[in-house]
């Protein structure tokens, strides 16, 4: 059984199969090599029409689920305990990890031992200077930071030993279990998946998700931002409701608000005739986990200092507090006040009545952020509140009364869209996309769907001093290709450094460094003369390529060979990279945008 194997064994199997793949194909056709390399999802592979239907997978911060198009509709797969939603955690025991999909032990009990790792979706692809990583230090296992911009150290306590792990490994263990579950039920090998991801994930985080899938032997057909998966499902429902409105007139605008345990995403989609155009996206790393952490420090104000030493006793304490707080928050969804009674040991007892107002006051900032995400999304879509036909709320936090209220308040008391299960919408959308992207045809036209995606974050380079100059702005329809012309900042500058960033910050360092390369051999000329054309290309599989060419005025030929670089190239330690590049080169190889001649 795959799921009883230790991860390192899985890795060996994986590496071995990769090796065979390479040696088999590498000689005859060098081009095939890129298809085999682990985390790559190349467009080419798509074309060799898979007969199998890709499954849809939603690995949430707290729960994961898997669904598949069964030929006429989406079906959620259940585990042996008849659960459709499985807890996203992995318990390490005697070197054999077991995840929430298959394992039988209760989550709450295992939390207390330090051997259970969860919330990895919040930590994947983040460096240890990230505030999200810092706030994860209260989790009942080891999250250690050195604060220098490298990946944090994460470990589970197994037999009084810290066994190190990575978010990728933990996600891969779920994925192996989910895959085994799907294979057992569908009675066929599973290779292709459509995975939902948060809107705010950087491209580097997406590569980490792809890496986790590769470790689990899965090929990522598509990584879909969660609200766009919901948008696809909405598009399908609208299509089924009215088959005869192809194209024209009856366009429906929906706003999708998705808030889970780890992330909050908003999307605006315009749907007609089965075509959903994503008009805007907004997302942030806020979710149920923040509500929980704020509440924990409200109940036990000095919790952070108490948890510093991460001993066995403290882990148990953290676990108890977490379970009690979570339970209180859940109960506050239906009750206006609840009694919290928990004995944390060592004479530390919490005995308190918490009411809903208190909970909402403690989490004021989180709710404010939710509101601003919705407003930003509407603004980016150039729409007014009145233009929205349907408001859809999904995700675990949709059960929190305050979340529901704040959304309905923005939409002036408009009734929320019904007909979607808040917890299942994203995975169902992913399963529909899995069928569509696998080229499955439905005789009733239920798969005659298309989602036109948009880029959630701007991509650009550092220029004009230390500024971030977007080449592809956020909410640009994908596939996309855009270019901006830059020029040199000093006379006879023959080299230029291209630093590619992704994000929304005005200053370069506020954004996420995706990669860098140097242009050499620019013909000597006065400053401002050479035209350095930076072109960015995102294909339908969301692969980003950066092309840079240098042209001298009056010439049609590029002065030097064009550089084409696939991003991201930075693999780890972004903090280090950006800083040392800055230290070594400063502004000597800078560029400025060239003002367009009329």
């Amino acid at each position: 059984m795959l799921n009883s194997l230790p991860m390192f064994l899985l890795m060996i199997i994986y590496v071995k199969s990769m090796y065979e793949y390479d040696t088999k194909w590498g000689m005859a056709e060098p081009a095939a090599y890129t298809v085999a390399s682990d985390s790559e999802t190349t467009g080419e592979e798509k074309s060799s029409s898979f007969p199998e239907i890709a499954i849809g997978v939603d690995i949430g911060t707290s729960q994961c689920s898997v669904a598949v198009w069964n030929g006429s509709q989406v079906e959620l797969l259940k585990n042996t305990r008849n659960q459709k939603m499985m807890r996203s955690y992995v318990t390490f025991k005697d070197d054999i990890p077991s995840g929430g999909v298959s394992s039988q032990l209760s989550h709450e009990h295992e939390l207390l031992s330090g051997a259970t790792i969860f919330n990895m979706k919040r930590l994947i692809g983040r460096v240890d200077t990230d505030p999200v990583v810092h706030s994860s230090k209260t989790l009942p296992f080891l999250v250690q930071t050195l604060d220098i911009g490298v990946r944090p150290f994460i470990a589970a306590l197994v037999n009084n030993m810290w066994r190190s792990t990575t978010p990728e490994e933990v996600l891969a263990i779920f994925l192996v279990e989910l895959r085994a579950l799907a294979e057992a039920q569908l009675k066929r090998p599973i290779r292709n998946v459509v995975l939902t991801v948060p809107v705010s994930f950087s491209r580097f985080q997406l590569t980490r998700i792809e890496r986790a899938c590769a470790m689990a032997g899965l090929h990522v057909l598509r990584l879909m931002p969660e609200p766009t998966a919901v948008a696809l499902l909405y598009g399908q429902q609208q299509q089924q409701a009215s088959h005869d409105n192809m194209g024209s007139g009856s366009e429906k605008i929906a706003l999708i608000f998705n808030m889970g345990a780890g992330y909050c995403d908003v999307a605006v989609t315009a749907t007609a005739g089965g075509v959903s155009q994503i008009k805007s996206l907004a997302g942030s790393t806020i979710g149920g986990e923040d509500l929980l952490q704020n509440m924990m420090s409200h109940l036990l104000p000095d919790s952070e200092s108490l948890f510093k030493s991460h001993g066995v006793k403290e882990i148990k304490l953290m676990g108890l507090l977490r379970v009690a707080t979570q339970d209180a928050i859940h109960r506050l969804s239906s009750q206006t006040s609840v009694q919290v009674d928990v004995d944390l040991g060592d004479g530390l007892k919490i005995c308190k009545v918490v009411d809903r107002d208190e909970f909402e006051e403690v989490n004021k900032k989180v709710f404010k952020k939710c509101e601003s995400l919705i407003m930003q999304c509407l603004q980016d879509a150039k729409l007014e509140v009145e233009d929205v036909n349907d408001v859809i709320i999904v995700g675990g936090c949709s059960y929190v009364p305050k979340v529901k209220n704040l959304v309905t308040n923005i939409f002036k008391g408009k009734e929320l869209y019904k007909g979607m299960n808040p917890l299942e919408a994203a995975v169902c959308g992913a399963a529909v996309e899995g069928a569509v992207a696998s080229g499955i045809n439905d005789p009733f036209g239920n798969l005659d769907l298309l989602t036109i995606q948009a880029t959630p974050l701007a991509i650009g380079i550092r220029a004009d001093g230390n500024n971030f100059v977007p080449v592809i702005p956020r909410n640009t329809t994908m596939p996309a290709r855009k270019d901006v012309v830059f020029t040199t900042i000093r006379d006879n500058q023959t080299e230029a450094l291209i630093l590619v960033y992704e994000g929304e910050g005005k200053k370069a360092e506020e954004n996420h460094l995706l990669g860098y390369f140097k242009i050499v051999g620019i013909p000597a000329a006065p400053k401002g003369v050479p035209e350095i054309n930076v072109c960015m290309d995102i294909d339908a599989s969301n692969v980003l390529r950066v092309l840079v060419g240098v042209v001298m005025p009056g010439s049609r030929q590029p002065a030097i060979p064009v550089m084409e670089v696939r991003m991201p190239t930075v693999d780890d330690g972004h903090g280090w990279c950006a800083e040392s590049l800055n230290r070594t080169y400063g502004a000597t190889l800078d560029l400025v945008t060239l003002q367009k001649k009329a």
């Binding site: 074309s47 192809m246 007609a272 569509v436 080229g439 036109i452 329809t477 290709r481 049609r556 590029p558």
Partner: protein, 159 residues
Amino acid sequence: MPTSLTLPALPAVSGGFLRRLNSERISSRQIPINASASTAEARPAVVESRRPAASLYEVLRLEKNASPTEIKSAYRSLAKLYHPDAAVQRRPEHNGDCEDFIEIRNAYETLSDPSARAVYDLSLMAALGGRNRRFARSLSMNYSSGFNPTRRWETDQCW
């Protein structure tokens, strides 16, 4: 694949040498697709849109006086044919190329915005006024029906 740049550079509708370079490179590996597409689909538009289209209206297969609703619905219908995801589904031999869709999208973005459309219409007039020979000629050659370019005797004569 080595990229040759010996092509006499055409003044593209919207400039940028890398765009030219790209479309040239991609179209060179596109040839078999074009052939199969024209048999699979009624519209021979894949082949057509390889060349810089004469106008954004031509890209969306619209009359020049199309209404905003018509523009929107043309964009949707074309997206269903030319978006790489849809194209893979409809034509399994399609290799996921994005050129067509990007062109359709760019045309839609201009024409769906009333002010951008007005500016574009003006520039179209100016171009037809005779600054650009290749542009004007391809328009006059391609359009036998529908929208009648504002050609004058002088412009025809001086070129």
